[in-house]
């Protein structure tokens, strides 16, 4: 079984400040990890993924995430937040050795960047 926890329903940050959106996961084997962003009444947009290799993954729009195997975490970060980053963020996991491509999503974290 695989699961994802996003412990914060909402994160508020001032424009220009660094932001972090937290994610922890659980899988039987090794994980593939993903971050998606969702704007109101829209589908999900891919931000970045961790497959293997360097634990620091860089993605779209200046976002990055750090894979920490010992803490089973994959937190999303950005050095300087923009008002336009305000959206709903989802972390997702897939077990690398599972036969299905099923992604398991967290419940989402609403990010509000305050001008």
């Amino acid at each position: 079984a695989q699961s994802v926890a996003q412990p914060e329903d909402q994160v508020n940050v001032a424009e220009g400040n660094p932001l972090t959106v937290k994610c922890t996961y659980s899988v039987s084997g090794n994980p593939y990890l993903f971050w998606y962003v969702q704007y109101p009444n829209r589908g999900l947009q891919f931000l970045l993924k961790y497959i293997t290799g360097d634990n620091l993954v860089k993605g779209s729009y200046g976002f990055e995430a750090e894979f920490n195997k010992s803490q089973t975490s994959f937190h999303l970060k950005k050095p300087s937040a923009l008002v336009s980053d305000s959206a709903l963020y989802f972390c997702a996991v897939r077990d690398r050795w599972a036969g299905s491509y099923q992604l398991t999503f967290g419940k989402g974290t609403k990010l509000s960047v305050i001008p």
């Binding site: 999900l44 891919f46 967290g106």
Partner: protein
């Protein structure tokens, strides 16, 4: 290149009716998955198809069914609609095993 396209964008149905949702994957993508997103929740996996074969099924009742066609497009069918089926239904396509999914904009289904 066109992204993942879903139709219709919005739909209103009455309890007990049947609905068919459609999805066209990105050209070359052979895997299509369906997700249900209830307001305030993360997407929940319904089905995954690869090369026209079902490769995974989530914890949904038998009222939900799907299929994938030779051109890799897909349909999601829901019978005997319930109020609780009201949600955003998302289709996603993927090129291969380690690629991220590309999601469509979804179909907003409202059951009244």
């Amino acid at each position: 290149d066109a992204g993942v396209t879903q139709s219709p964008t919005h739909l209103i149905k009455t309890r007990g009716q049947h609905v068919t949702l459609r999805c066209s994957p990105i050209s070359g993508h052979k895997s299509v998955s369906w997700y249900q997103q209830v307001l305030g929740q993360g997407p929940q996996f319904i089905f995954q198809y690869y090369e026209k074969e079902e490769r995974g099924r989530g914890n949904f009742p038998d009222r939900f069914s799907a299929r994938q066609f030779p051109n890799y497009s897909s349909e999601l069918n829901v019978n005997a609609l319930l109020l609780g089926d009201s949600a955003l239904y998302l289709c996603a396509s993927s090129l291969g095993v380690i690629d991220g999914y590309t999601f469509g904009s979804g179909t907003r289904l409202t059951v009244v």
